[in-house]
């Protein structure tokens, strides 16, 4: 016996460029399915078992004559065409539901019940503007079809299909769950057909199936969840759990979703000095976990905090850093947490360009409820210019005020209203005075030392869980070049090391640097040389502090001393900025 469930979704319509005032072309939500369909093919032929939403049946021929139809009315399928937008147009494009309704049950059964050779693989079929995606299985599987043009959404849907398929396959082997449900569905369909033949009133058999058939209800739930939250959680046969999330619905910037590949790239670039910020309360999150979830996840949720970085979290929760990275990535993927830099008083925050600062937004209301006596826009106005948390500190205020401030900042971070700014440094030596224009400018340091591995192990360097890398973080700095230089004095060894480090510079650059007054101090020069490879604009101050075990004041002083060859700017960390975009 072979089954195939599919769902249909509107395909990406061509951008029709209209000349009306409302020239924004409204397409259906491209990440939601239009419908879910379950189809079987076997000895009894091809049959459509279930579809949701139910098809609006065409009126019976007998009742059609009752309608007065103007000779100029558009000839449409089924019932009269309602003008969705209210404006009068010559020809409204068919809505998604009508497109789906256009396919009768019989034809769906035929086209979707596939041959055995393509079972076990992704199935994709596109008819005009509707796309079907599914995973036909030899023991039936309800694929969910989405007609969205974006391949990543399609493959996510296919993923869901496949998961449901596997669950159903399992239950079928165990207790013939699928066969039983299918029999039930077919029986109800036959019943309704006979009834319809007898009294002529059209009814959707699927409406009757829904209350009686658990599988039908599960499919309906999957559909509803996909259309709304993008998170699906089913219990097939009240036993096997199938959970799935559509990252496109969960992670969005403005009106567009973040492609999963971008999400994954960012997750791989998380460093141990980052922190995990939960988006819901600990209690709420723990309540959502399934009964058989890993204890490591529970420990992590209980131990994590906005002020603790991942390395500390690993120690406190007594878990390996690799595990922390994996669980953190998992929570972020499911939209339950974001990655931030741990909260501390030197952090500088600014309003996010995507922040919703509207007076009447639901966020403003929630804020007033959470923090009575304060209003969100006033608070947000304080972050119009970059401001560090330390600047809020008022010695005359009670400590409780400060604690509340922290809470407010956390609240705003959770809702992606704030971004954190970091300082980045780039080495750029003033060009040579002589031979102007004749010599090409030296390619900046960044271009020359590009590709060097970073000294902090990132999630990427862990590779897959089966990698044999043994990452111990006893010493943060693992880069070869920033060798431990012996303190004190002008020893020949130190001098040699400094020279080696400066060797990657061009002659002109070296000259300029050595002519800086601060370079006369060997200690300063040594520090400068040691940190040289960070000065390409990709490593922020905090990262250098973490890697090199240095204090902020030390670094700032060094930057100041060598300011004639350094250019400093501040902006958000591109690695985690993807998480700082607002959720819809």
């Amino acid at each position: 016996m072979m089954f195939n469930t599919l769902a249909r979704l509107p395909d990406d319509r061509k951008s029709m460029y209209s000349q009306s005032q409302n020239s924004v072309y409204k397409t259906g939500d491209k990440t939601s399915p239009i419908s879910v369909i379950l189809v079987t093919s076997g000895s009894r032929g091809n049959k459509l078992l279930f579809r949701y939403p139910f098809q609006r049946l065409a009126e019976c021929p007998s009742s059609l004559t009752a309608k007065q139809r103007s000779p100029y009315a558009l000839n449409t399928t089924g019932d009269g065409l309602e003008d969705q937008d209210g404006d009068s147009r010559e020809q409204s494009p068919l809505t998604d539901e009508q497109l789906v309704a256009g396919f009768s049950d019989i034809i769906l059964a035929t086209i979707l019940a596939t041959k055995s050779d393509i079972c076990g693989k992704k199935f994709e079929l596109k008819i005009d503007n509707v796309r079907f995606v599914g995973h036909p299985t030899l023991l039936q599987h309800p694929p969910i079809i989405q007609a969205n043009a974006d391949p990543s959404v399609i493959s996510c849907m296919h993923n869901l299909s496949r998961r449901i398929a596997i669950a159903l396959q399992h239950e079928e082997r165990r207790c013939q769950y699928l066969t039983r449900e299918a029999k039930l569905m077919l029986a109800i369909q036959d019943e309704i057909t006979t009834m319809t033949e007898m009294d002529g009133s059209p009814q959707s058999p699927f409406r009757q199936i829904l209350p009686k058939c658990k599988l039908a209800r599960d499919l309906k739930e999957a559909y509803d969840s996909l259309c709304t939250t993008g998170v699906v959680r089913l219990h097939i046969n009240n036993w096997l759990e199938v959970s799935f999330c559509l990252p496109h619905k969960i992670h969005r910037i403005g009106g567009n979703y973040i492609p999963p590949e971008a999400l994954e790239r960012s997750l791989k670039a998380i460093r141990p000095y980052h922190a995990l910020l939960l988006l819901e309360s600990e209690k709420a999150l723990l309540g959502q976990l399934p009964l058989d979830c890993s204890p490591a996840m529970v420990r992590l949720i209980k131990t994590c905090s906005a002020v603790k970085n991942l390395q500390q979290l690993a120690q406190d929760a007594d878990l390996a850093l690799l595990q922390i990275f994996q669980i953190a990535a998992h929570l972020v993927y499911w939209g339950k947490a974001i990655i931030i830099y741990p909260l501390c008083e030197n952090n500088v925050y600014m309003l996010s360009p995507h922040a919703n600062i509207c007076l009447y937004s639901s966020l403003a209301e929630q804020f007033s409820q959470q923090f009575p006596g304060h209003d969100l826009p006033s608070m947000l106005a304080k972050f119009s210019l970059p401001v560090s948390l330390a600047e809020f500190r008022n010695p005359l205020e009670a400590p409780a005020q400060e604690a509340q401030l922290i809470q407010m900042v956390v609240w705003m971070l959770q809702r992606r209203l704030l971004i954190q700014l970091h300082t980045y440094v780039c080495l750029l030596v003033p060009p040579s005075e002589d031979e102007p224009g004749l010599r090409d400018e030296d390619p900046p340091l960044a271009a020359r030392v590009g590709g060097r591995s970073l000294s902090t192990p990132s999630a990427l360097s862990f590779g897959s869980p089966t990698s044999s890398d043994d990452m111990t973080l006893t010493s943060p700095s693992m880069d070869n070049s920033s060798a431990e230089l012996l303190p004190g004095g002008d020893s020949p060894l130190n001098k040699r090391m400094t020279e080696t480090l400066l060797a990657s510079l061009s002659e002109h650059e070296r000259q300029v640097i050595l002519n800086i007054p601060a370079a006369q101090n060997p200690e300063d020069l040594r520090m400068f040389a040691r940190l040289l490879h960070y000065f390409r604009g990709h490593h922020h101050l905090e990262e250098i502090m973490y890697n090199e075990n240095m204090r902020r004041s030390q670094l700032k002083t060094l930057f100041d001393k060598f300011r004639s060859v350094l250019v400093v700017t501040s902006h958000e960390d591109p690695i985690i900025s993807i998480f700082q975009s607002p959720m819809e």
Binding site: K14, T110, K115, K126, P377, P430, R536
Partner: protein, 380 residues
């Protein structure tokens, strides 16, 4: 998705009165295996409900796009002629651009058959094979194909790549050409676009263009939106010396990417001056930060600006997203019960928008709001 759509095979399939569905011609030969055809034939020569629909089926690593046609007439054996001219691509290919071509081809063949029995006549049907060959070759090579079929019929086909929907154009947006304006061939565009063209200089905003070109505002918006769609222009914000900008992480691309560097230095150098140095330009961009106006920048970095045109500097930075503009949003937070609900001071409308809509200047708006204790201003 910038990959060109490569067609692997073009086939002509029909329902043979005795043999059933088969592939009559395919170029290159033997591309579609027996197995593949068996799997998908139900989607190639289809039941009546699926006829005349664009059907794309993915199977065995390939994507087949076709449009099944059925012509009913007594003269045909079985009273109907069923055929389908389709394209085959790799399963990963985005085939949206091919769909209009398939539809057009099916239309052409239908017409040819109805007019002169092109397909049902065995002799003329053989002309299909060289036609398929030419189609495959030319569509893959140039994306276009012009084929004379016989003395009176010619087929014209072109692959059109779909683009993303363009954003809405506001009256306070400023369009700027992405390429040199001289490369723009006026005659290819509609009259409205031609009329507003001289006013697109990267500094005039939509409202101003509409006033000076004497074209209705919404028409200007639509024309510019059209230019946006084709990537001919991009939008930046109005330039004023009181504007505030800040760097984005992408500013580092000026250091990392030689091509961006070159483009930038050429763009921002003052006319007639020696090319500006990378260091000066980078310092200027990094000198932009919240709280710093362009005017402040000019006074602080006057040495660096000797060879740099600050307006073009800002323009380039915005176009390439090296910097972004910080807009001011007034919000009326305290109001007494009797006063009306704030209409514009809600945090949803920037100074740019308010000034554009009400006609008052920035300074005026600033003066009004600065002294109002009930209003806070957010920058983002």
């Amino acid at each position: 998705m910038g990959m060109t759509t490569r067609i692997e095979c073009i086939f002509f399939s029909e329902f043979h009165p005795t043999l059933g569905p088969k592939i009559t011609y395919q170029v290159p030969e033997e591309y579609i295996s027996r197995e593949l055809f068996d799997t998908v034939q139900v989607y190639i020569i289809t039941k009546p409900e699926l006829q005349n629909k664009l059907i794309t089926v993915t199977a065995m690593g390939k994507k087949l796009i076709g449009c099944p046609v059925c012509i009913e007439h007594k003269k045909y054996s079985r009273n109907a002629l069923l055929f389908n001219l389709g394209l085959v691509c790799d399963a990963q290919t985005n085939t949206c651009a091919l769909e209009p071509i398939v539809k057009k081809l099916s239309g052409y063949l239908t017409t040819l058959e109805l007019e002169s029995g092109f397909i049902s006549n065995e002799e003329s049907k053989q002309k299909l094979l060289p036609i398929l060959s030419t189609l495959l070759e030319e569509l893959n090579a140039t994306g276009a194909c012009t084929l004379p079929i016989d003395e009176s019929n010619t087929i014209h086909l072109k692959l059109i790549q779909l683009r993303k929907d363009p954003p809405i154009v506001q009256e306070y947006d400023v369009p700027v050409f992405t390429q040199c304006k001289d490369h723009f061939i006026k005659s290819q565009w509609d009259l409205t676009t031609q009329q507003i063209l001289p006013y697109i200089d990267g500094f005039r905003h939509i409202q101003k263009i509409s006033a000076e070109a004497d074209v209705e505002l919404n028409l200007v918006r639509i024309a510019v939106q059209n230019l946006l769609y084709y990537g001919v222009v991009t939008l930046v914000s109005i330039f004023q010396y009181s504007n505030v900008y800040c760097t984005t992480p992408k500013v580092q691309s000026l250091i990392d990417d030689k091509s961006v560097q070159d483009e930038c230095l050429n763009y921002v150098t003052k006319q007639g001056q020696k090319r500006a140095s990378l260091r000066d330009v980078f310092q200027l961009y990094c000198g932009l930060s919240p709280g710093t106006t362009v005017r402040d920048l000019c006074s602080r970095y006057s040495q660096q600006l000797q060879r740099v045109d600050e307006r073009r500097l800002i323009q380039f930075g915005l176009m390439k997203s090296l910097i972004r503009r910080l807009q001011k949003y007034p919000v009326k937070v305290i109001r007494d019960e009797r006063s009306r609900l704030p209409r514009l001071y809600t945090g949803c409308h920037s100074y740019d928008e308010i000034c554009c809509k009400t006609g008052i200047s920035y300074q005026e708006l600033d003066e009004r709001l600065e002294n109002d204790p009930n209003i806070v201003v957010c920058w983002k």
